[in-house]
């Protein structure tokens, strides 16, 4: 910072000297017509002094401000860099934090996925078991119905066979039974009734 200030001071002094030399040259070129008068030299001196005073005044007025400006600017940049570093650190910290959170969330998601998978497997097993039970029940019902229908058909066949047999027996008896057979049958029956009572 000091180096910068020194450079600016040297620059200002050099500028003032160059200005004086330039003014001297101007006056020197004007004197070729008859030389400088005392009044001119005095005016020149006075103006030079004014310039010096002006330069000093400017220096007195602006040096501190300029110095302050550049020092403040440097500080600002430094602060900005420090802030940037801090923000970077914080950002990294937050990045790590969010990374951890993301990892944690990923783990949780994995856990949830595993849980859902497990539930799905359990549900699948349950559905398969239920379906198996239903299928078994349907099978049993169907078997029971088959048995029932079979028994029914068997009973109907038997009934028809019995009816036909009885009808045939009736026809045979109608054709073959005689009055003598009938009397013998009646006598036998009456004997049975008497013996039973």
């Amino acid at each position: 910072m000091k180096k910068l200030f020194k450079s600016i001071s040297v620059l200002l002094i050099s500028f003032t000297l160059m200005l004086l030399i330039a003014a001297n040259c101007v006056y020197a070129s004007g004197g070729s017509e008859g030389g400088y008068t005392k009044t001119q030299w005095f005016e020149f001196a006075w103006k030079t002094l004014d310039v010096i005073i002006l330069g000093g005044f400017l220096y007195w007025m602006l040096a501190a401000k300029i110095k302050e400006f550049f020092v403040g600017r440097r500080q600002d940049i430094k602060d900005s860099m420090e802030n940037a570093k801090k923000e970077k650190t914080q950002a990294e910290k937050k990045y790590l934090e969010y990374s951890e959170k993301i990892d944690k969330a990923s783990h949780e998601i994995d856990g949830i996925i595993d849980m859902i998978k497990a539930q799905g497997v359990t549900e699948k097993q349950k559905i398969i078991e239920d379906a198996g039970k239903v299928a078994q029940k349907m099978k049993e019902d169907a078997q029971a119905r088959i048995d029932q229908e079979f028994n029914k058909a068997s009973y109907q066949l038997r009934s028809e066979a019995v009816s036909l047999s009885v009808l045939m027996a009736e026809e045979i008896l109608k054709k073959n039974i005689t009055a003598q057979d009938h009397e013998a049958m009646v006598k036998e029956y009456m004997d049975k009734v008497v013996n039973k009572n």
């Binding site: 068997s154 009973y155 038997r158 009934s159 019995v162 009816s163 047999s165 009885v166 027996a169 009736e170 008896l173 109608k174 039974i177 009055a179 057979d181 009938h182 009397e183 049958m185 009646v186 006598k187 029956y189 009456m190 004997d191 049975k192 009734v193 008497v194 009572n197």
Partner: protein
Amino acid sequence: MISNISKRYARAFFEIATEGKQIEKYYSELNQFALIITQNKDLGNFLANPVFDQDSKKGVVVNIIGKLKLSVLTVNFLKLLVDKKRIDVLSDIVFFYRQLMDESLKKVRVSLKTAFPLSSEMQTYITSSLEKVTGRKVEVSVEKDPGLLGGIVIGVGDTLYDGSIKNQLNNMRNLLGEAR
């Protein structure tokens, strides 16, 4: 189902008949008149209809009685039934009177259904067999029923003795049908 009123009339008439020792005669007369009413539907409806006055009914009954030549006691009993508006239950009275009479005479009526006509010897045999079974005198009414195929069906009161071939075939049908 015989009403108590019918039973009361029957019992009263039976007691009078018992005193006169003419139970069967009065039964025969009552039954004769009851058969006329039963066989003649219009006459039955006329006597049972409350629209016709008692004198008309009594007049008709007296006319019929006059042709039947019934005893005085029976005639009076029938007139009483007309007066008391009980002539329509005469068949029930006769039925219960017969029960009382059978009870008194220790007689039982038997209905006999047969597939073939029975010889008189067989009928006598059946009667004597039933008298052994019931311990009473048996009066058999025979009815022919070819539907029995063979054998007989005897009804003694509420008891039924079924010795018909039809019944045996039915039993066979049931046995074979139920056996599995």
